[in-house]
Symmetry: C2
Subunit: 340 residues, 2 copies
């Protein structure tokens, strides 16, 4: 880490020797593997099946460090999960940094390190990257884009299309909702709530692999990030033009998240998750799938939370604790910007 | 473009109905194809050969509109070229936007439209994307990340590795150098030089395809973007541990670029290009390759500019117009930040 005395400067993004030192001393130190070490303009590697899945996300979360993770870990989990819910085995990631001039090198190292660790945990290789530095004040500390490639087996090709859903199908989730959004909010606004709220930020590909290996009636999966569980279920109910009914008494919500949401006037159904997957499956097999999920450490609190119904097509209804029903819409506006 | 009265607001990035309207009314309007229209978390498509090439770049250019292009066109050209110089046929792109709250919808539409047009021209499909909106002042107008996937035929697998270069091999370029950097600089600083300087921003995959189809001795290709021709040649000479000699009298430089560089004290060899490729080839075939290049509209001013030598390994020497020799180093620091 010579020549730069602990701060990112514009020269780290100019394509010259300073950038090459940064790549060698930091990025390759943590990301190094036979593919990225070639340092070519594009990574070249063999395909593993005849169908590819390809996704991208830019991460602009504020703050970049939060209980349960940081922007680096998140940039792996988010993209890995987008591939996994599409029925793909995530394999390769690209990582692109936009860094504000003056950003502390030691913070960058912490972020790069957790990014590399999460990639290793999720069993994906970082194979190509890019670094841009912008003048002070022209971005907010650090943005990261990851794009991901996965391979899709014939058996799982149709999962992302939600083609075979019928009324009576069951909706499962692998644990408590709203943890990520409320952890970030708590950290950002320094509310200092006593109850600890920790982001659920995690790569779900191993959990999803276990489910798809052992069951055959998973009809749809989606990770409820921005827009929360309500966002995904609304999108789904509109797409299949059926109704969805969820039961408030079955929704797993952590005490801290519940308390924060009540105080701030949020609905946990609208709050972002980064380690959750919603699954639609045939009712017959749903208890079996639930057992598989509960055995995985990322699914201890898994639950069946509702079902697809033929009533109120295109709408999501919540059976409340009080016994009534209310329609749960999607968020309009953004009360919680920069949550991912 | 209902609900937003001409400006991007935070709600356009929240995963809810406003974001979906933006995707439908703007992005799908221009990018639409059978793959992206599925609107799944990850695009799924068949592979076309047994080796993939994968690359990413974030574009933070300032200003976002410049003579010869804009950030949208550039985001296609840059990533397509990174794939093409690796010997791949570029096929699929992801596009991720980070947009500053308040950004004018009509500017976004112009950018999205030229991005789509350039993708069509380069024959690549945009198959997946992402949109983030950050608060006013937290990024500079608009950043775009593209990641790209290409397929590599057996014949071209080794091009990116620069394995077979020998002293005597010849260095070619497909036209004038420094146009992109100086066009952006001129626009940014409002120098109002009378001579028109226009960015060379272009997708080179068709030109490169023609060269690789008709010749068999291309040993290395690279697009000299940030760091310019000097950056690429220095990296290459260090990698192969041979010398490189280029001849100032053979370097194609536009009059306007020459004049600007002289006035501002820059060396065109250090200035970024976005529509240029440096090619190393066997001397025997070099004139034939030059002819192929000159027949393509993106190679009219192609030239042989130098050669690989056994002297001064790891260093690039310029034979000056005055007849002397000087070593051309890489840039340290960044006199021209945010050029791409």
């Amino acid at each position: 880490m010579n020549r730069n005395e602990g701060k990112i400067v514009l020269g780290h993004g100019n394509g010259g020797p300073m950038m090459h030192d940064l790549i060698k001393d930091l990025f390759l130190k943590y990301f190094g593997n036979v593919i990225i070490n070639e340092q070519t303009d594009a990574a070249v590697f063999p395909v593993k099946s005849q169908k590819l899945a390809f996704t991208t996300d830019s991460y602009v979360i504020d703050p970049i460090f939060f209980p349960g993770g940081n922007i680096g870990k998140l940039a792996v989990c988010g993209t890995v999960n987008d591939l996994a819910v599409s029925g793909a085995e995530p394999c390769y990631l690209s990582v692109s940094f936009i860094i504000e001039e003056g950003f502390a090198m030691k913070d960058l190292e912490v972020i790069v390190k957790s990014l590399a660790e999460e990639a290793q945990k999720a069993n994906v290789l970082i194979v190509t990257g890019d670094t841009k530095v912008v003048n002070n004040g022209k971005c907010d500390k650090l943005f990261i884009n990851t794009a991901g490639i996965g391979f899709v087996s014939k058996k799982n090709e149709l999962i992302s299309k939600a083609l075979n859903i019928n009324p009576g199908d069951v909706i499962l989730i692998n644990g408590t909702i709203g943890d990520h959004g409320m952890a970030v909010m708590n950290e950002r606004e320094s509310f200092k709530f006593k109850m600890k709220v920790i982001s659920d930020c995690a790569s779900l590909n191993k959990l999803i692999h276990e489910i798809l290996e052992q069951s055959s009636t998973v009809k749809f999966m989606r990770d409820p990030t921005r827009g929360g569980v309500a966002g995904v279920l609304n999108e789904l109910s509109e797409k299949i033009y059926m109704g969805i009914e969820i039961d408030e008494s079955l929704l797993p919500v952590n005490k801290g998240v519940k308390a924060m949401c009540e105080l701030l006037g949020y609905d946990p159904l609208h709050i972002a998750n980064e380690g959750k997957v919603l699954i639609v499956a045939d009712e017959q097999e749903s208890k079996y799938i639930l057992e598989i999920m509960q055995k995985n450490s990322l699914g201890t609190n898994s639950a069946i939370i509702g079902r697809v119904v033929s009533d109120h097509p295109g709408k999501v209804a919540l059976k409340t604790l009080a016994g009534g029903h209310r329609i749960v819409g999607s968020l309009v506006g953004d009360p919680l910007p920069r949550i991912c």
